[in-house]
């Protein structure tokens, strides 16, 4: 059975949902404000006869008519980065400010990390972590190509992330004891990437969903603990399974000092509410404030994104 059948009861338009899941995804690029401006990047694409259309909701996120951006001058200059449209949401939800200390717990290969750097005007301290050393080299390559200079790269298990290397609990004037904001773009069963990788669900099992949910809970808990009171944590996945989304939020809301906060998706970007009941379980009603993105909503991949505030 197609695992996506599980979600038929959740979607507003079943037929449109399954149809969208079968269509390939358009090739999308994000303009890198560290090296150029939206105007210059668009003008360079025009000059190079590369057809594109800006998304309805963001002037710097462009859908290309055909080929990938790799063989164009603006790409060579690090003005563009190939990034799926929907994956631009979590960084916008996190809303990092210039000069802050930000933790990207699961950062490789760095699409969202480099977007965060751009939103911070390449200032402050952006810590990009991943437990997979091989994927970290892709993160470093992408960050360097885009000219990012505020990134610190670490290789730890995010579930028990240590701030010791940053001088935690010492009187060093540069010590970091807590983050202002953290992004948990968690490892997941990737159901929402079916349009990009048609074999994404070939090895899907309920066991895998449950085991990855355990990792997600561990990472999100650590993110809340390591973020200062009043700070922001954003949780995102590219999957539909409530076990990996609302259930993870429900667990962490119960165990750690945090609450869900409202966040409006950009104008023109359609999302659905988080679900509060699934498979006989009930979740904290506030998880409704999370955003579910189904492929037929905005012609993107599937996605989930929630914003939390740390309360102690």
């Amino acid at each position: 059975m197609n695992p996506l059948e599980r979600y038929a009861p959740l979607v507003d338009d079943e037929e449109a949902f399954f149809e969208a899941c079968d269509r390939p995804l358009p090739s999308v690029v994000r303009v890198n404000g560290i090296k150029t401006t939206v105007e210059r990047a668009r003008s360079a694409l025009d000059a190079g006869d590369v057809g594109y259309e800006a998304t309805d909701w963001h002037p710097g996120i462009l859908k290309l008519d055909e080929r990938g951006p790799g063989t164009t001058w603006p790409y060579f200059h690090g003005w563009l980065h190939g990034q799926e449209e929907v994956s631009a949401l979590p960084a916008l939800a996190l809303d990092p400010q210039p000069g802050e200390v930000i933790w990207d717990a699961c950062a490789a290969p760095g699409s969202k990390t480099t977007q965060l750097a751009d939103l911070m005007d390449d200032t402050g301290t952006l810590i990009g972590n991943d437990n997979n050393l091989g994927r970290l080299s892709a993160l470093r390559h992408n960050a360097e190509r885009l000219g990012v200079s505020n990134l610190v790269v670490t290789n730890q298990d995010a579930r028990n992330y240590s701030l010791k290397p940053f001088g935690e609990d010492t009187d060093d004037p540069e010590a970091i004891d807590a983050f202002d904001r953290a992004l948990v773009d968690a490892p997941c069963s990737c159901e929402g990437t079916i349009r990009k990788n048609p074999d994404a669900l070939d090895r899907w099992t309920m066991n895998h969903v449950h085991s990855v949910a355990g990792i997600q809970k561990g990472i999100l808990r650590r993110a809340v603990q390591a973020t200062r009171e009043g700070g922001t944590v954003v949780y995102s996945t590219c999957t539909f399974a409530p076990e990996e989304n609302e259930a993870v939020l429900d667990h962490v809301l119960g165990e750690e000092d945090c609450q869900m906060v409202e966040w409006d998706a950009p104008d023109g970007f359609e999302t659905a509410l988080g679900v509060t009941e699934w498979d006989g379980d009930e979740y904290d009603p506030s998880v409704e404030l999370a955003h579910r993105v189904y492929p037929h909503h905005n012609d993107t991949g599937g996605f989930f994104c929630a914003k939390l505030e740390v309360t102690a």
């Binding site: 560290i34 090296k35 150029t36 210059r40 003008s43 360079a44 000059a47 790799g70 063989t71 164009t72 001058w73 790409y75 060579f76 200059h77 690090g78 000069g99 390449d122 200032t123 402050g124 301290t125 970290l136 470093r140 390559h141 960050a143 360097e144 190509r145 000219g147 990012v148 200079s149 505020n150 990134l151 610190v152 790269v153 670490t154 290789n155 290397p165 940053f166 001088g167 010492t170 060093d172 540069e174 010590a175 970091i176």
Partner: protein, 177 residues
Amino acid sequence: MSDDTGDQRPENDGQRFDRLPATSDERVVAGRPTREEVVGWWEQRYGLPPETWDGHTFWEKGNGKIWAFAADLVSPNPVEGLGLRILRARQEHWKPSTNAVQRFCGAASKNVVLLDEDEAETFARGDDQELERWEGDWGYVVAAHEFEGAVEPIGVGLYLHGELRSTVPKGRQEDLS
């Protein structure tokens, strides 16, 4: 390890990041470049205004690899990466990195070789080319072209004997023709 010299000065530990000393008076580790030297080198060689680096701290990891980071951190630091690798020092001719040149050398005013369209494509492919017209210094130069109304750096060239060699790393080379 140099017990034959009796030199007790600490040596560079290539496994971690160490903040560069501000000036030679503060230098502890033998051979480590200072912040003053690094800023001065970019200014002298490429005409980059010293203010370019006002917001950045400088670090060494490995033998002479220098990184620029947009904030400050506890030093020494064992992390995997810190900011942008900007140059290789501890050798006779310091070599800037492609990524630093792309990011910072739009403001360069010296040793910038301006390429026409064909030359720029040759350079981006990673190919070497004859370039007789250049009358600036030999050594590492900024290769650039006119792009979107400004001079946009492409990468680092090595100019020697009438030839411009492209040092664009393999993973960045591209056929843009």
